[in-house]
């Protein structure tokens, strides 16, 4: 088995552990909505069901899926914004979920995050300078005012921002400019690992390319490791080294970008790939995905995709498929692929 083996639930076969920077092991996340006042049963949303991924140093790992698939929840669990219901999060060999505030502090400096909505991710009442200086002054209180100012200016320039912006407020900037300020904030403390949660989906097309380029430049200059969350597979093709495809809280397929685009294995991955809108003179066709994503409050039995899957049979509705490694190291959680159906 290749290096992707670390993503398996079986921890025995983990040869390339030293290269893994961030790892989520068998993570479950259940949101308790409380019980309805007339009903006895508690209402629970099963957002993540036994998901394991391992992000290696220097790679841009993409998590792809449609709304409700749990990709953002996984990102938030990894960042410590949400506690996992079960499972473990490891960063550079240390288990970090459940760490207390003080003990977690060094990891806050090493892992940062870029958010989706540039209109909500900057505090509207703080100047760009206040926003950018905050992480520096918190994590590196020994820096002098001059050093802080110099760092802010350097990072601003590196993401293509005009350093004279710092005395202004977020509302004075466009979405793309705000997103670059957000990126600058994440890069301020020189992190090793950055989670980007749909960082370009709220932006205009011509601005998306700018922001994506800034992120790619930062990766090259700083040796960053990215976990990139997106619903847009076409972005993955540019940005990602490896891709995890998620559906309804489960990981369907995990492959290198090239393998995923050349030989998509999981039926859901194939449909998702075919549904990407492309510039083409052919007329739009329905992607052939019947029905709708079921509620995460009432998960289908067996494979969560079975009731919409063109290849499903009786086994799929009974037994949960486990991610199995293919010849090229791709992990696919699908009985049909395992049995060679379809």
């Amino acid at each position: 088995m290749s290096g992707t083996a670390t993503t398996m639930t079986d921890p025995a076969s983990t040869p390339a552990r030293d290269r893994v920077l961030v790892e989520a092991r068998a993570v479950r996340k259940v949101f308790d909505l409380g019980s309805h006042f007339l009903e006895r049963t508690r209402r629970e949303v099963k957002a993540l069901n036994d998901v394991s991924i391992a992000v290696r140093r220097g790679e841009s790992f993409c998590l792809v899926g449609e709304s409700g698939c749990g990709k953002s929840t996984l990102a938030r669990v990894i960042m410590g914004l949400l506690p996992p219901s079960s499972g473990e999060i490891h960063f550079d060999g240390t288990r970090i979920d459940g760490l207390r505030h003080k003990a977690r502090r060094p990891f806050h400096r090493r892992m940062q995050m870029i958010f989706q909505n540039p209109y909500a991710s900057l505090n509207p009442r703080r100047t760009v300078r206040q926003t950018l200086e905050e992480p520096l002054r918190f994590h590196l209180p020994e820096l002098s005012d001059a050093e802080v100012r110099e760092t802010v200016e350097r990072v601003m320039v590196s993401v293509g921002n005009d350093p004279t912006w710092i005395s202004r407020y977020p509302h004075e900037f466009s979405g793309g400019q705000r997103q670059r300020i957000s990126i600058a904030r994440a890069l301020m403390v020189d992190p090793e690992f950055v989670v980007a949660d749909e960082p370009i989906s709220a932006l205009d097309v011509s601005i998306q390319a700018q922001v994506l380029n800034v992120m790619m430049d930062a990766r090259d200059q700083r040796d960053l490791t990215y976990l990139f969350i997106t619903h847009d597979l076409s972005v993955v093709r540019h940005f990602g080294t490896r891709v995890g495809v998620m559906y309804l809280g489960s990981l369907c397929e995990l492959a290198t970008t090239q393998a995923l685009f050349e030989t998509p294995r999981h039926p859901y991955t194939r449909i998702l790939l075919s549904a990407i809108p492309r510039v083409s003179t052919e007329e739009m066709k329905p992607p052939g995905l019947p029905g709708e994503v079921p509620s995460a409050m009432n998960l289908p039995s067996g494979c969560v995709f079975h009731d919409r899957c063109p290849l499903a049979n009786a086994r799929c509705s009974a037994e949960v498929p486990r991610p199995l490694a293919q010849d090229d190291g791709t992990l696919v959680a699908c009985h049909a692929v395992e049995e060679g159906r379809g």
């Binding site: 390319a209 076409s234 090239q258 549904a275 007329e283």
Partner: protein, 326 residues
């Protein structure tokens, strides 16, 4: 005669900073059963165009010039009462957010029956029958049951299908869809856009699809208008525009799509961003971002150059089209 003929449309918004012109002398036509795409980034004026056609520009904004001929009458000159008979009857609108159309406290059935009875002299039973037919056409499973549902009981994709069914109720001649699938997932987007495409064809309805997404436009529409800072910068047959774009902005937009270019490589980007209406530059509004800029681009606004049916607002349109400048 085209179904809709918009000529020299100018929309203004008076503000404290002076009068802002959201649309400058915009021209386009839609034939019966034709599908037109209006493409632009946020602030380009594409939604303003849709609202102007339906006479829904909110005060203090106003249509300051031009005409909107629809089935022979100028919509800009209709009274509020006359306009109400066109809007929602001959022209339907689909918004990005289905809840702009759907009333959260009424069932789907009540809303559909009321919409029909507002425009047609028919009884409840007949209205229900038509509503069920339309819900079936938008592929909503068990439409009779859905009539009793409230909007919040449906998913986003289902709601948008209901909105399309409502838009089709009065068998309009034209549907204006403003970013109808932007908020939806890609698989649902593909389902709904292909459904709209089919329905427009089978009913012979004209469609104006307003979107920022050139890929969707290329697969759904026959002709396209590209707007930039309130002006038409390029227009023509969709296939021709997306395959051989001429205007540097359209070229940039297409090249910036992440599906294009080499995997793993930097994306082609257009530098800068669209100017706000308060700061549109002199001359060609695109000149500060353009790779092909010349001195004359800063002096005067280029006219729409006609390259046999494919019109481009660029002084170098002919060079660019023949590949000399590239």
């Amino acid at each position: 005669m085209p179904l809709l003929d918009v000529r020299d449309l100018r929309v203004e918004f008076p503000t404290r900073q002076g009068v802002l012109t959201a649309l400058h002398d915009v021209d386009f036509t839609v034939d019966r059963g034709e599908r037109l795409g209006i493409v632009g980034e946020s602030g380009a004026g594409k939604s303003v165009a849709a609202f102007a056609i339906l006479n829904l520009i909110g005060r203090p904004g106003r249509i300051a010039g031009g005409s909107i001929l629809f089935e022979g009458q100028d919509l800009t000159r209709l009274s509020t009462h006359q306009m109400r008979r066109v809007r929602g009857d001959r022209i339907s609108m689909i918004f990005q957010d289905p809840m702009m159309t759907l009333n959260p406290v009424l069932t789907i059935g009540t809303q559909m029956v009321e919409t029909l009875k507002a425009h047609r002299r028919i009884g409840d039973a007949e209205a229900r029958r038509i509503a069920i037919t339309r819900l079936g056409e938008v592929k909503i499973p068990s439409p009779e049951k859905r009539l009793e549902s409230y909007p919040h009981e449906l998913s986003g994709g289902m709601r948008q299908r209901v909105v399309i069914a409502i838009a089709l109720l009065t068998e309009p001649a034209l549907i204006i869809a403003d970013e109808p699938t932007t908020a939806l997932d890609v698989t649902i987007q593909a389902e709904i856009m292909s459904l709209m495409l089919d329905l427009c064809k089978t009913h012979g309805v004209g469609l104006i699809l307003i979107t920022h997404d050139l890929a969707v436009v290329s697969q759904v529409t026959q002709r396209v208008v590209v707007l930039y800072a309130g002006r038409v910068v390029e227009t023509g047959e969709t296939a021709r525009v997306v395959q051989d774009p001429v205007h540097p902005y359209t070229r940039g937009l297409l090249a910036a799509l992440p599906g294009e270019g080499t995997p793993g490589a930097r994306l082609n980007q257009i530098r800068g961003s669209m100017p706000p209406l308060t700061a549109v530059p002199e001359g060609c509004p695109f000149n500060p971002r353009c790779d092909f800029v010349e001195d004359r681009c800063r002096d005067a606004l280029p006219a729409l150059e006609d390259l046999d049916g494919h019109r481009v607002r660029c002084v170098r349109a002919r060079d660019l089209a023949s590949g000399v400048a590239a």
